[in-house]
Symmetry: C2
Subunit: 421 residues, 2 copies
């Protein structure tokens, strides 16, 4: 027997599948016009959205949520306008559907094309940021996918109000109302039921902290676009220009410490440790960063503290960095592949051969040469917007933008061919 | 506490990961030479392989296995040579690695490339066909992946002998011995342990009957390339040329009834039922095919038998077809998307607009216009060889050849760029 929540989730799934079938055949112009209408609807409903947000904020404050969580939850007029503008930016992206990814003719005359089509139904599970409602739904609609959203309980009223405005815009241009649906309960059982809806949901994108992602990874019967952690490394090679290394390391660690592309471990080539290690460590500590290091690092600056084994596998998301000396590119690659999270790594060097060895050797979604790990972002990659970063190897890797929200099918055009033999 | 089998499987996984890291950096020439050496080793060991196969065959006969299973298990000199030749054919394919899939330059001067790299470690779970050992391992090696093979207990000795020859060839050119490993036990617990090795195996390919695939789908914590069933449809449109329709339908159903691309359901447009249905049904029955139909089909030929609801969702893999009349392309697409398995469908029509509507509307990996569904095959697509057909939407869809056994990473080449803001 299915529980009430399972029955409800199955019904949501069934409706989403129907909407996805319809959306797949809608031209880009209509999908993009729907997003523009949704942006306008959000602007028109801005006061209503702000009121719902005030209600959520009040409840969150009463529950004693942390300042950081309250900040993620808060929507002011600027953030509401940014959501609307974000939908218009997504509308403006090139159509990711219908692209011919490959085409060839067989000796028997059949023409085979691999053509981009939507994935189908995308489930988004997120926490307190209510703006994910518009961003994620927008990317899904642009790529012809139906969406089932499951927001955090703290942002429930805000998210529902945003969704209502958004759906109003979409239906105004004739798109199906079920193209974007929200799980109408904050019951945690609904998440479990959602993760088992493999007949109706093609991919799940968990957006939130490590505990949310870990739960989804553990329970999901559906493919995921996710990264659990961004334990990103910057390796300063013997052939690095010290000034460039300083600029890149400072930016990679300290520009924003809370994003997944922030560097968490500094690796310095033993061959340049005597000249490069001290200035790099001193610079970081002077900038307010705690440095946890191996013996060489401790010797370089008395303000550094000892690193434990745990430090090499820790994503601080804070003004803390682990640092150690390694034996050249091979030592750096070995450390990265052993302790990293396959997200983003950078090498600083003037030696092209060392750079290539690092680029090829690191088993990570993004590997940079002479640039900051903080570029790990769909916008910075020129993809327009991203629904997240994937460290998986299947289908989508790195930033997940509208192109990554498509799959393909083979269309074969013949003239009566049958298979011999 | 891990069981002994879990400990053993984890160790296999750890070694495979190490081999995969090494293989990823090996040039195509070495990988292909390894496959050629493996082909030679199989030829040299042919008598040894035949002897092991005789031992497996004797045990299988004593167990009373069916004739079809015995045939799958049997290796004669021709089949052993075909395995060796298959490895040489794979060696000859273009290198799937290192391809630049996309490249662009950002306004800040960073050059971003999306480059093909191996998936890593691929697990193959198969049943009685021992030649899968060479075919699957060959495709994995060509694409730079390490493999863990888990063959059926019936073919255990044969598969081990093939693997030993194969690994001898690979190591002769300097490839790691752990590039191809076989689970050294027929204990079913090993399959369960393998399906949980998500730290060490990147994708699992189950090759076998529906019950094997269903078990793997149910238990796996690892992404799969698989299809459970090929419930393929051929739709004969009102604008079909009757002679072409007859040729295609006969081939699609009867060329080989046991393959996944065989048509299992014939759909005929109501608008041409009066002229096309009777000849198509009569032709199939004359060819020895049982036809299970709706009322229109029963009226068209007294030899047809009534179809039950179950027939529309049955993969016969036999000389049986279900048949019904539908209302045009829309009715056909609706039937396919409701009852099909997202594998392969065909439309026969001279009307280009009807064909496009069918090609776009069917939510299937392969959709053909005026050609037989039996073309659903990597070899027929010109991909050289395939490890299977995928009906999943993630990563690989349709035939899975060496290109589909790769993923990609982003390489970013800069000159000191840091992220502003």
């Amino acid at each position: 027997m299915m529980s009430d929540i399972e029955t409800m989730m199955t019904e949501l799934g069934r409706r989403a599948r129907g909407a996805a079938r319809a959306l797949a055949l809608v031209p880009d112009k209509t999908r993009s016009n729907g997003l523009r209408a949704a942006a306008q609807a959000i602007r028109i409903d801005a006061r209503h959205i702000a009121a719902a947000n005030a209600q959520d904020m009040e409840a969150a404050e009463a529950k004693g949520l942390s300042g950081a969580m309250l900040d993620r939850l808060r929507l002011d007029a600027g953030r509401i306008e940014a959501m609307a503008k974000g939908l218009e930016d997504i509308a403006h992206l090139p159509d990711p559907l219908g692209r011919t990814l490959a085409e060839w003719t067989r000796p028997n005359g059949m023409v085979i094309s691999r053509v981009a089509v939507p994935l189908g139904v995308i489930g988004i599970i997120y926490e307190s940021r209510p703006n994910v409602t518009a961003d994620a739904a927008g990317l899904c609609i642009k790529s012809g996918n139906a969406t089932i959203l499951r927001g955090g309980s703290e942002s429930f009223h805000t998210s529902r109000t945003i969704m209502t405005a958004l759906v109003g815009g979409l239906t105004a241009v004739g798109l199906p109302a079920e193209a974007v649906q929200m799980v109408p309960t904050t019951d945690r059982e609904a998440v479990g039921a959602m993760l088992r809806l493999s007949d109706y949901i093609d991919v799940i994108v968990p957006r939130g902290g490590k505990s949310l992602v870990a739960r989804v990874v553990e329970e999901s019967r559906i493919p995921l676009f996710q990264h659990l952690e961004g334990i990103c490394h910057t390796y300063v090679d013997a052939a690095a220009d010290l000034e460039m290394a300083k600029t890149i390391v400072l930016n990679a660690k300290m520009r924003r410490t809370g994003i997944c592309g922030a560097t968490e471990t500094l690796l310095v080539d033993r061959a340049c440790a005597s000249t490069h290690l001290q200035p790099l460590v001193a610079m970081l500590i002077d900038a307010g960063c705690e440095v946890r290091g191996d013996e060489a690092v401790l010797a370089a600056d008395p303000r550094a503290v000892p690193a434990s084994e745990e430090d090499w596998i820790t994503e601080y998301l804070d003004a803390v960095i682990s640092a150690k000396v390694v034996d050249g590119v091979a030592g750096a690659v070995d450390h990265v592949n052993t302790h990293g999270s396959h997200h983003t790594e950078a090498i600083v060097t003037e030696d092209a051969a060392a750079a290539e060895a690092f680029l090829q050797g690191c088993d990570s979604a993004i590997v940079l040469w002479n640039a900051s790990t903080q570029f790990a972002d769909g916008g910075e990659f020129g993809m327009g917007a991203e629904i997240g970063i994937s460290t998986g190897k299947m289908h989508a890797r790195g930033p997940v933008g509208v192109e990554q929200l498509t799959t393909f099918k083979y269309l074969v055009r013949g003239s009566g061919q049958v298979r011999p033999g």
